[in-house]
Symmetry: C2
Subunit: 325 residues, 2 copies
């Protein structure tokens, strides 16, 4: 237990869903003081605790310190941003009330430049990004099902040009140690941007195609034409990264395909969002990479086409939802 | 009535569906001797006639000369091939029994090089291709609903290299006159291959996207991202045609988009096939143009990706159908 450690930190988890519940739950279980924000589930969590059914053993965090609004939360040393990137316009109002002078913000989101919103609030020197390799789902209020994986690659955010930030390395390392001590499979990256791109090489084809083709990862991998398309899209993402100065070895493509073949059939987070008629994370996963492609003069035909298809589906999905309400 | 004209021709309609019913019906109505092949509907047509509900007035061809097999049909001067291109492997056995020494074959199908199958049987000099601009659907056995349009562009087939065929021009012109006399909106093209490509500029984006996005033409046109995608795909088809020596003016893109905006919301034939769980015409509409692209060194990324997506959907669709049977 770190409760009595004078060097211990207080954590805030902004968004207690599949990601925030999983990582926040493990930090709380390890003895860290964790305060959860859950606009929708705070009453259930206060009464029944935060319930995690995990591949590694089920547990409940009870009592859990949970709040409906960050206005009511104590100021915290470390703030984990675990909301969907589609809500990143709200980051300032969500984290400002709980900032100390030297709080660190850890952005556990998918996509590119997702740390920008937090950086605008606390400055580039105080933002850590995290690429999560996690299969988990919120199955009910305050109830997360951890299906597989859980690895997170953490690193200092260094801005869109990868040339800012980098301060407070010692403080960042202490947070990283907290993750490791909580038995989170965490690693520290000296080049977060490169890891973001490597993650995109998976997210772009599988998130995108799982929605457009209405298919699980294993459906997509089980058919030669869609399998080749996955590979073609990965090559295009690799080329865009390379044009922007991030070299990614060809062997990653083979590794990602091998890893996905070995995965349990899985609904990507984007497909889950689409099916639940929530907005998809198109800005972070498609538009930002396309912005980089445009900047460096890569035509990105496949990525453009996939984005156009997804924007059509997203608009129809949300219009249908609105009509149903 | 041409019945007593010693120069009149006998027609065979191979496949009495949305296309064969419409054009064969008009030829029969104009007095031509037309023999219909309908494997599925021959009994209904024999009893109730061939029924056409048309924008231009409803009519019934009764009695209709209809057969279940071409083995039973009389030999004919002109053979209209109106089956789906997915059945083109059967063209030889379907037309051989009804060939005279100088029969002409008119291939009324969508796609590229769809005339190859017939050319292998009767030779390049005896094949006319037709690009149909027709909105019609078979709504029941022996019952076609003609919704809109009806224009057909006819021309001598000149092989994959556009450098063969071209014989029997007089005979072809007489058949063309029969079409015009039957009040079919027909025009004669001196460069059928160019017209095939122009038709593909519509078919490839609208057939493809209507299936992948599960959307009507007006849905696709009603959203800025899918609208831009249509345009991007049209440009790619134009580039492939150009690489192969077929120049298409930019103004066609604007015209096709304007025309589609003015169309009634319409399910493309490919979407109808997909929904009915029939195989889609991917070979004729996607693979042949891609073969041309490969031959001339155009990477065709959008066309390739659309084809890969459609092949995935086609395989799943047919597998699901099989599982249901």
């Amino acid at each position: 237990m770190n409760m009595t450690d004078p060097n211990s930190r207080t954590y805030a988890v902004i968004g207690t869903g599949a990601v925030g519940g999983y990582y926040g739950g493990l930090l709380a279980k390890s003895g860290q003081r964790v305060h959860f924000l859950s606009r929708s589930d705070h009453a259930v969590i206060r009464q029944h605790g935060l319930r995690i059914d995990s591949r590694d053993g089920d547990y409940v965090i009870q009592p859990a310190s949970v709040f409906a609004s960050s206005e009511d939360m104590p100021k915290c040393d470390v703030i984990l941003v675990c909301i969907k990137t589609t809500a990143n316009a709200n980051v300032r109002e969500l984290i400002e009330p709980i900032l100390k002078e030297d709080s660190l913000v850890v952005v556990l989101q998918n996509g590119l430049f997702v740390e920008e919103a937090a950086s605008q609030v606390v400055g580039y020197d105080r933002v850590v990004g995290g690429c999560c390799f996690l299969c988990s789902t919120k199955v009910g209020p305050g109830h997360v099902h951890h299906i597989d994986y859980g690895r997170v690659v953490l690193g200092a955010y260094r801005g869109k040009g990868n040339d800012q930030g980098g301060g407070h390395a010692g403080q960042m390392q202490r947070v990283f140690r907290d993750f490791v001590d909580a038995r989170i499979e965490a690693s520290w990256s000296e080049n977060l941007l490169a890891d973001r791109w490597k993650k995109l090489m998976w997210n772009i084809p599988y998130n995108g195609l799982s929605v457009v083709l209405d298919a699980s990862t294993s459906d997509v991998m089980g058919q030669p034409h869609s399998r080749q398309l996955v590979r073609d899209i990965m090559v295009e993402v690799q080329q865009i990264a390379s044009a922007s100065g991030i070299a990614i070895d060809d062997s990653l493509i083979e590794k990602l395909i091998r890893d996905t073949d070995a995965m349990v059939p899985y609904d990507s987070s984007m497909r889950v969002d689409y099916r639940m008629r929530r907005g998809m994370e198109l800005e972070a996963i498609f538009e930002m990479p396309l912005e980089v492609a445009r900047h460096w003069g890569h035509p990105a035909p496949r990525l453009t086409m996939l984005s156009q298809q997804l924007r059509f589906l997203d608009a129809r999905n949300l219009a249908t939802k609105k009509a149903d309400e």
